[in-house]
Subunit: 125 residues, 2 copies
């Protein structure tokens, strides 16, 4: 039951589309993918079939086609991936990851303020 979510790179691209758009056909997903990179239709199809096998998505027939739905929760998956990175890349320190993320990346003042607010709330609790 969604214990360890570890999508591959290609799978993650597809999940992102399903998370963004909601349930979608292979055609829809493929059209999105094709905007970013050269890829054959059957490649997308095969990937989604594999993801079905793994339980990352489910599907439902709709006429001749299938409509696929992400079966993993976006925030949960993100959380696990971040957690994994904290452990494997930052020796367990979330703070180091945060600083690396803020340091290397252009972040707007508004975003920084939001993070500050978030910190305040978190500290008070």
């Amino acid at each position: 039951m969604q214990a360890n979510i570890k999508p591959t790179e290609a799978e993650l691209e597809i999940l992102n589309i399903l998370w963004e758009q909601g349930p979608a056909t292979v055609r829809t997903v493929h059209n999105e993918l094709a905007q970013k990179k050269e890829v054959g239709y059957t490649t997308t199809l095969k990937l989604m079939q594999i993801m079905l096998d793994k339980g990352l998505v489910s599907r439902e027939a709709s006429g001749k086609m299938h409509v696929y739905t992400a079966e993993v929760n976006k925030e949960r998956a993100q959380g696990q991936m971040v957690q994994r990175m904290i452990e494997t890349v930052f020796g367990g320190s979330a703070m180091q990851l945060v600083m690396q993320a803020l340091g290397n990346h252009k972040t707007t003042k508004a975003e920084l303020d939001m993070i500050r607010d978030y910190l305040d709330k978190k500290t008070k609790k």
Copy 2:
């Protein structure tokens, strides 16, 4: 140089050891690895030879043995991996990654304060 650092999982484990310990022989690295998981000596050796090929490490003869040194900068590698995660998992928003990292993870008050200080400095500049 060092344009795109993308170590595999096994390579990252080895880099972490070299970052921690500084230059080390295969034997030393292997002993560290073996504490965490079952692995054959020649597996470690082969991995380090592959990393040499890729330029992730360099080496120097010391008698019969070789002493390996990490050729990628730790902070740079961390930065690139975080950047990649921001793009592929969080749609380009560093803030979302930060919040996910802080939300899912137990962080001490001292750590939160450090992050706040960091934010302050960053905002003033």
